[in-house]
């Protein structure tokens, strides 16, 4: 437990230093965050245009869709802010030999990797997510019972962990192959399905997004719960699935690290 608090306070320190460095490039910080907002704005604008023309999408109205979209964006932003460095593990750290630096220090190398770079661009995603959820909540006049609030938090946090675990699982391949980014994208891009209610997709895609790459647990199911729709109860499965995935991913990381230890790449 002492160890846990040590890491928390270390992370805070890393974060403060990172923000200080970012403040040196204040304009870049803003452009970075703004760029992700723009990216999201494109998709949201498209949804808005279309929903002007039709009353609903498979029984989901505009604001309900925004809720789904906002939830996945929030979960994604957690990964984007705190675990973006996973993408660069192979390119920036392993290939250059910079990864050795983590291994000669008395802390967990995965922690060091993640803490090394808080990604400011994720803040844009976070803000978009928060704005969308609030907007939808007001427009839909959602009744926030304590249980629903809990479902929201559980959904978003588990969703964030699911994103991180799947990215970790795929980025670990950079211990073996030159560039892990294609592998990561193959899995990561599936989250785009979860920007919309899963009911618009055929059964197979529903299964994929619920049980295999369970991004649906971050958006569609919590939204269903908040809107008292069918299958909303699956939200409560999200933390279990997230924990399971994280466990698998961390084991994979350990195997990758061991491989690195014996080959040095």
């Amino acid at each position: 437990m002492a160890e846990f608090f040590r890491y928390i306070s270390l992370y805070r320190l890393f974060l403060v230093q990172r923000l200080k460095a970012l403040m040196e490039y204040r304009v870049n910080f803003i452009i970075g965050a703004a760029s992700t907002i723009f990216l999201q704005a494109s998709s949201i604008l498209a949804i808005w245009v279309v929903m002007q023309k039709v009353p609903d999408l498979n029984g989901w109205n505009y604001d309900e869709i925004l809720l789904v979209y906002g939830l996945i964006t929030l979960a994604k932003s957690i990964n984007h802010m705190f675990a973006d460095n996973l993408w660069t593990l192979g390119r920036v750290y392993i290939r250059s030999g910079g990864f050795d630096r983590f291994l000669v220090r008395p802390i967990n190398p995965l922690f060091h990797l993640l803490a090394d770079r808080f990604c400011q661009d994720g803040v844009g995603n976070f803000l978009v997510g928060v704005a969308l959820v609030i907007k939808a909540s007001i427009a839909l006049d959602l009744a926030w019972t304590p249980l629903k609030l809990l479902a929201l938090i559980v959904g978003v946090l588990s969703g964030g962990v699911i994103f991180i675990a799947l990215n970790l699982l795929t980025c670990v391949t950079s211990f073996w192959i030159v560039d892990s980014v294609p592998v990561t994208r193959l899995v990561f891009d599936n989250h785009l399905f979860a920007q919309y209610p899963l009911t618009i997709y055929p059964k197979a895609i529903n299964v994929l997004l619920t049980w295999i790459v369970p991004y649906g647990l971050a958006s569609f199911y919590p939204a269903s719960y908040l809107l008292d729709r069918d299958l909303g109860y699956l939200t409560w499965l999200a933390p279990l699935v997230a924990a399971f995935l994280l466990f698998i991913a961390y084991r994979a990381w350990e195997v990758g690290l061991k491989h690195y230890n014996s080959t040095g790449t």
Partner: protein, 331 residues
């Protein structure tokens, strides 16, 4: 007790064999075949606390592989390394607290952070007590002349400033064992001198043990009492620096000033050869295991009118250069 004990340390890399073309690529995907390359081959040595040991060899001789095993980054294929009584790989975290590493070409500082911020972070990573850290920081600010640099981000530093900062970063937690990889590479003479001075005084003051890999003979001559030479994964020399000369410096040179131009065909004993002749100066290099200086002098004087002659000691720089060129005859 020895600070570092290395016993029969061996690292064998498996290198995947690749057949050319698409078919070959597919084949190796399903049935990968490997070549074994022994990078470090049954290396053994012991280093006492407070020693500064130069570790030299050509690129690819196994230097960095050894260092990676000693720092816990790489796992040995066989044999053991023990740093202060610990297995550096199995007890990686505990070992990491006691060691400091400078990778000459790669920074361990944060590119965009002011030096003092980087040091703050490192102090926290190593769990340094705040007052001890303050003490060390003040001390390094003095000995490494960092006062003007503390507020400067690493990206704005010159090479020499960066290296001073790297040293501070590697030593701030008072490691008992330190690995320095090319700490003076690319620096000008004055800066080099300062860094050597710092390493020397720091060692004397703290009794830390240092393994230094370098291509710079000056580093070795000024810092190391002892040198390990590795070649093709094996230690071929382990001893004091001055003894390298006796061991490897088997060629010597003898220079004659002659009265007239010597005849074109000069008869010389076996194991000697003329390296240059001009303006009545004749230089002859000889292998002292085959022939003695007096034998050559006698032979030359018989054929030419000699005014003066001098014998030169082999120069350590040229020996080390030979070592790095891999041209060393180790038999």
């Amino acid at each position: 007790m020895d600070a570092i004990v290395v016993d029969q340390l061996t690292k064998v890399f498996k290198i995947p064999k690749k057949d050319p073309g698409m078919v070959g690529a597919l084949k190796s995907l399903f049935r990968p075949r490997f070549d074994a390359k022994t990078a470090v081959d049954h290396v053994s040595f012991k280093i006492s606390p407070g020693e500064i040991v130069g570790y030299i060899g050509v690129n690819g001789a196994g230097k960095s592989t050894t260092i990676k095993m000693l720092t816990g980054v790489l796992m040995p294929t066989s044999g053991t390394a023990s740093i202060l009584g610990r297995d550096p790989h199995r007890q990686r975290v505990e070992n990491a607290r006691e060691i400091g590493v400078v990778f000459g070409q790669r920074t361990q500082l944060w590119w965009d952070l002011a030096l003092v911020e980087s040091l703050n972070l490192i102090a926290r990573i190593y769990d340094l007590p705040a007052d001890r850290y303050k003490q060390m920081l003040a001390q390094f600010a003095e000995t490494l002349d960092l006062n003007d640099l503390l507020k400067v981000p690493v990206r704005n530093m010159s090479l020499g400033q960066k290296m001073r900062s790297e040293l501070a970063a590697a030593l701030i937690h008072e490691p008992r064992v330190v690995y320095l990889d090319e700490p003076t590479i690319g620096l000008d003479l004055i800066v080099k001198e300062r860094i050597r001075d710092f390493i020397r005084t720091q060692c004397a003051a703290t009794g830390m043990t240092v393994i230094l890999t370098t291509h710079d003979l000056g580093d070795i001559e000024e810092l190391c009492q002892r040198v390990l030479i590795i070649d093709e994964g094996r230690i071929i020399y382990d001893g004091p620096i001055h003894a390298i000369r006796d061991r490897f410096g088997k060629f010597r040179e003898i220079k004659f000033e002659t009265g007239g131009e010597p005849a074109a065909a000069l008869k010389l004993p076996r194991g000697s050869e003329i390296t240059s002749r001009e303006n009545r100066v004749l230089q002859i290099r000889f292998d002292r295991t085959q022939v003695s200086a007096s034998q050559i002098a006698a032979a030359v004087m018989k054929q030419v009118d000699v005014h003066d002659f001098s014998l030169s000691e082999p120069n350590l720089a040229s020996i080390v250069k030979q070592i790095y060129n891999g041209a060393l005859d180790t038999k």
